[in-house]
C-alpha cells in the first residue's frame, strides 16, 4: 500500500501529511514533484494544503496545469483514492473533479482554529472508521473555504451521500455548513479542515486519525459497507 503526496512549489502541508502518515501511522509514503509526467502507481494520492502557485487570482487556479496533473486525473479515473486537503480541495474543484467552488470566507478574513465537524456519511473510504453523526475536532486554516454550488448539484450531492463533513458552527459561510465532500463515485475527497494536523497527542488532538485510518482500512480491504 502506497501513498503519494503531490508537492507544488508553494505546498506547505506536504511535510505535515508525510509525517502524519509515515511517523504516526507507519505508512509507506512518497513525495511526487509537480513537474513530472511519470507517476508511479499509488493507492492514494494526496493534494496537500498550502498556496500551490501563490494562489493569486483564485486559490488553486494554476495548479491544474501542472505536468503531474494528467497522471493524477488518470489515477482518479481508475477509481483510486484522491484526497485534496484545503488548497488540495480548491484545486480539485478548479479541475472539475469535485463540484462547486470555494470562495472567500464570509468574514473576509483568514481563519486558523480548531473546529467541530459532524460526520454526515460513514459509508465511504474516508469515513468508515467514524460513527454516523460523530463529532470530530479538526483544525482549519484558510481564507477561501466558503463552499458554493448550485442548487441542482447540491440536491444531487445530498441524495448520493456526497456531503461527508459539516461544521457544527459555520466559520466561513459555506452552503449547508459543508466542510468536506466527495465525488459521485466516492473515490475523490475534498475537505477544507486539516486531518494531518490532528494526529498526535503532543499537539493536543488526534481526531484526524479517524479519517486517515479510514483510508488505511479501506485500502487494506477491511472496510465493509454495512
Amino acid at each position: 500500500m502506497k501513498f503519494g503526496i503531490v508537492v507544488f512549489p508553494g505546498s506547505n502541508c506536504d511535510i505535515d501529511c508525510y509525517h502524519a502518515l509515515k511517523d504516526t501511522l507507519g505508512q509507506d509514503v512518497e513525495y511526487i514533484w509537480h513537474d513530472t509526467e511519470e507517476v508511479k502507481e499509488y493507492d492514494c494520492v494526496i493534494l496537500p494544503g498550502g498556496f500551490s502557485y501563490g494562489d493569486y487570482l483564485r486559490c488553486g487556479a494554476v495548479a491544474p496545469f501542472s505536468r503531474v496533473m494528467d497522471a493524477v486525473k488518470v489515477h482518479a479515473d481508475k477509481g483510486k483514492l484522491l484526497v485534496g486537503i484545503c488548497n488540495g480541495f480548491q484545486i480539485l474543484t478548479e479541475m472539475g473533479l469535485l463540484p462547486g467552488a470555494l470562495v472567500r470566507n464570509k468574514n473576509l478574513k483568514f481563519i486558523c482554529d480548531t473546529v467541530a465537524l459532524k460526520v454526515e456519511n460513514k459509508e465511504t473510504p474516508f469515513t468508515n472508521r467514524c460513527t454516523h453523526g460523530q463529532i470530530i475536532n479538526i483544525p482549519i486554516a484558510h481564507g477561501e473555504g466558503n463552499y458554493v454550488v448550485d442548487d441542482e448539484e447540491l440536491e444531487k450531492m445530498k441524495k448520493n451521500g456526497q456531503i461527508l463533513f459539516t461544521y457544527q458552527e459555520n466559520p466561513n459561510g459555506s452552503v449547508l455548513d459543508i466542510a468536506g465532500i466527495c465525488n459521485e463515485n466516492k473515490n475523490v475527497l475534498g475537505m477544507m479542515p486539516h486531518p494531518e494536523r490532528a494526529c498526535e497527542d503532543l499537539l493536543g488532538n488526534d481526531d484526524g486519525k479517524f479519517i486517515l485510518q479510514s483510508i488505511i482500512s479501506f485500502l487494506e480491504g477491511g472496510w465493509k459497507s454495512e
Binding site: 512549489p9 486558523c112 499537539l203
Partner: protein
C-alpha cells in the same frame, strides 16, 4: 539644497566621503553613501552604545553583526533569530508595510542557512477607540502579516499588541523570525575567494523602495506622503521559492557567501559581503534583471525591491547553481566577481560608474555619533509621584469592567486567529498562553518563544522598564517550562538627535544589558528604529524583547490555563 542634503547627509559627512575616495563623489556614489550612512543602515547613533550589551556566552554561536544571531540548543542544533522593524512603511501602507517586514526578516534567517520555523510580531497602535485610521492600520497590518506568513507556510506563533496615545501618528510593527540550523551548516554573508562569482537570484529589480532607507530615517511629516512610491510590494510565493532554492543550494557546498537584499538593496548587500570577506567586488548593473525599462544605475543600486538574494558562488559551479534555482522556477545570473582590491566597483557595461573603498560605505566606515543626552522634565516630575496619593476606588466592579474593556487587556484571539499558527505541525503551545512552544523534530526537545515590552513602564523609567521587559520575557519562557537562552531586541525610539530621546535610548540599553547579564541571556541580534515621532511628540520608548528558551523534554511544556475544577492555586513570590 545641496546635493548631500538631498540624500540626507551633512556637510561633515560629505567631507568624510571626499577623504575616503580622494575626490568629489559622483551622483551614484553620493547616493550609495546616502543610503548606507542613513541611520537605518549605519546605526550611527546607536552603535556606540551596543558595547554595553552582553553578547557572548558558551551557547552563542553567532552574536550581533550578521544577518541573524545563533544560539546552541544541543544535539548539534542551533536556533537563529532576529527581530526587525517596519514602522514607517506600515504607517503609510499597512498591508504591504507589514508583509514586507515579515518577508525581510525571513530572508535574514535563511541567509544564515537556517530553516525558518516560526514568526512572532510585536505591534503598537494609537487609541483605537478614538480613531478610524488606527483601526484601518491595525487591520491592514494584521492582514499583511497573515498574508505573508500564511502563504509562505511559516507559523506565526506569538506576539503582542498594545494601544496607547503615544503611537497615534506612529504605529510600531516589529516582526521576529526564528530558524533552526545544524552547527556545521551555518553560513555567513562573506564575499571571499578572488575570482568567485557574484550571482543574483529572485525577483527583478524595479523602482520600488527607492529612497526607502533614507526615507526611514526622516521624521514623518506631510512631505513624506509624497515619497509614497517608496512603498514596496511583497510576493510571499516568490519568497517561498527563494527560500527553498537557497536552502537547497547551501547544501551543495557551492555557495561561499549569501546575503539578502534588504534596506539599501544591492549597495548594502555588496559592500557588506565585500567588507566581511575582506576583499573587493566588481559588479555590472546592466546584468541585473530589471522590471522596468530605462532605469539608471543609481536606481538599480539603491532599489529595495523585495525577494532578492545575492550569492557568492565558487568559481566554476555557476551552472550547478542555475540548475537548482531553475528547478524552483527562478533564474540566477552572474553579475560580477570577487576582487582583491578592497573596492566596490560598479560598472555599466564597460564603463566604471562607481569606485569606492567597500569598507568606507559599511557601518565600520560610517560616522559614529555620541549624542548628547539629558534627563527629561517629565521624568523628574514622574519621580515625585507617590503611590499613596492614589485614592482607593469605591466600586471595584466598575474598575474590573473598565479593565476588561481596555483593548490592551481584551483577548487578542481575533488577531492570532488570522495567522496560521499550526502549519508544519510543530506548535505544541499555540498563541493564547504565556509563550509559544515548538517541538524540535528528531529530538525530545522544544523551544519556547515570546516577545514582551510594557512601554508605559519604559516611558516612566526607561532603565527599570527595560529591565522589566527582559524579566517579563524570561518569566513567560520559564512559565512554559523552558530555560531562557538568548535575546533579540527591537529598539523603537524617537529622534536620537534630541537629548531627552537619546537619554531614554541610553537608559534602556543599560537596563536591558543589566537584566540580560543577570539572567545570562545574551543579546545575539537586534534592530534599532529611530525617528518614531510626529511633529508634536515621540512614541513611548519601546524596546521589544524577543526571547528564546529551551525545554529538554517538550512533553513537559506548560500552559497557563486552569485545567480542572478543584486544582489548587498558589502564588509564588511577593
Amino acid at each position: 539644497m545641496n546635493n548631500y542634503d538631498a540624500v540626507g547627509l551633512t556637510r561633515d559627512e560629505y567631507d568624510r566621503i571626499i577623504d575616503y575616495i580622494g575626490r568629489e563623489p559622483n551622483e551614484l556614489e553620493l547616493n550609495m553613501y546616502g543610503v548606507m550612512w542613513s541611520e537605518h543602515c549605519s546605526y550611527k547613533h546607536s552603535r556606540p552604545l551596543f558595547k554595553h550589551f552582553p553578547t557572548s556566552g558558551e551557547k552563542v554561536l553567532q552574536g550581533p553583526g550578521e544577518n541573524a544571531g545563533i544560539v546552541d540548543i544541543g544535539d548539534n542544533l542551533a536556533i537563529a533569530m532576529k527581530i526587525e522593524s517596519h514602522n514607517h512603511p506600515s504607517a503609510i501602507e499597512p498591508y504591504q508595510g507589514a508583509a514586507t517586514g515579515v518577508g525581510g526578516i525571513i530572508r535574514d534567517i535563511f541567509a544564515m542557512g537556517a530553516r525558518p520555523i516560526a514568526l512572532l510580531n510585536s505591534l503598537r497602535f494609537g487609541e483605537i477607540e478614538k480613531y478610524d485610521r488606527v483601526k484601518y492600520l491595525l487591520e491592514g497590518v494584521v492582514e499583511g502579516i497573515a498574508g505573508y506568513g500564511n502563504c509562505i507556510g511559516i507559523p506565526t506563533v506569538g506576539g503582542e499588541v498594545y494601544f496607547n496615545s503615544s503611537y497615534n501618528g506612529n504605529p510600531l510593527v516589529n516582526a521576529m523570525c526564528v530558524g533552526i540550523i545544524e552547527h556545521d551548516k551555518i553560513h555567513r554573508g562573506n564575499a571571499s575567494g578572488v575570482g568567485n562569482s557574484i550571482m543574483y537570484v529572485g525577483a527583478a529589480t524595479g523602482r520600488d523602495g527607492i529612497g526607502g532607507a533614507s526615507f526611514a530615517s526622516v521624521e514623518l511629516t506631510e512631505e513624506s506622503e509624497e515619497k509614497r512610491s517608496a512603498v514596496q510590494v511583497g510576493d510571499p510565493f516568490m519568497e517561498k521559492l527563494l527560500l527553498e532554492a537557497c536552502l537547497e543550494l547551501l547544501d551543495t557546498g557551492s555557495i561561499v557567501g549569501i546575503q539578502d537584499l534588504g534596506a539599501a538593496g544591492l549597495t548594502s548587500a555588496c559592500c557588506e559581503t565585500a567588507t566581511r570577506g575582506e576583499g573587493g567586488m566588481e559588479i555590472d548593473v546592466l546584468k541585473i534583471p530589471r522590471r522596468e525599462k530605462g532605469m539608471h544605475p543609481v536606481e538599480v543600486m539603491i532599489s529595495e525591491s523585495q525577494e532578492r538574494m545575492l550569492l557568492i558562488v565558487e568559481k566554476g559551479r555557476e551552472r550547478e547553481v542555475e540548475e537548482i534555482v531553475e528547478k524552483w522556477g527562478l533564474h540566477a545570473v552572474v553579475i560580477g566577481k570577487v576582487t582583491d582590491n578592497d573596492k566596490l566597483v560598479v560598472k555599466e557595461g564597460e564603463k566604471v560608474v562607481a569606485d569606492i573603498p567597500a569598507e568606507s560605505l559599511d557601518s565600520s566606515g560610517a560616522p559614529k555619533y555620541y549624542s548628547d543626552y539629558q534627563v527629561p522634565e517629565y521624568y523628574k516630575e514622574a519621580k515625585k509621584f507617590k503611590y499613596n496619593d492614589i485614592k482607593e476606588p469605591t466600586g471595584y466592579n466598575e474598575v474590573l469592567l473598565n479593565l476588561l474593556k481596555s483593548p490592551n487587556i481584551a483577548s487578542k484571539e481575533w488577531i492570532y486567529r488570522q495567522y496560521d499558527h499550526m502549519v508544519r505541525t510543530n506548535t505544541v503551545v499555540k498563541p493564547g498562553s504565556d509563550a509559544a512552544v515548538l517541538r524540535i523534530r528528531g529530538t525530545k526537545k522544544g523551544i519556547a518563544l515570546t516577545t514582551d515590552c510594557n512601554s508605559r513602564y519604559c516611558y516612566l523609567d526607561p532603565r527599570e522598564g527595560s529591565k522589566i521587559a527582559v524579566v517579563e520575557a524570561a518569566r513567560n519562557i520559564v512559565c512554559s517550562g523552558a530555560k531562557p537562552l538568548a535575546v533579540t531586541d527591537g529598539l523603537n525610539f524617537g529622534n536620537p538627535e534630541k537629548p531627552d530621546r537619546y537619554w531614554q535610548f541610553r537608559e534602556s540599553i543599560l537596563g536591558i544589558s543589566e537584566a540580560c547579564r543577570e539572567l545570562d541571556t545574551p543579546v545575539i541580534s537586534g534592530n534599532v528604529s529611530f525617528y518614531n515621532e510626529t511633529d508634536t511628540h515621540a512614541i513611548h520608548p519601546t524596546p521589544i524583547i524577543g526571547m528564546v528558551g529551551v525545554l529538554d523534554d517538550v512533553e513537559k511544556a506548560c500552559t497557563m490555563y486552569f485545567k480542572s475544577e478543584g486544582d489548587i492555586i498558589l502564588q509564588l513570590g511577593e
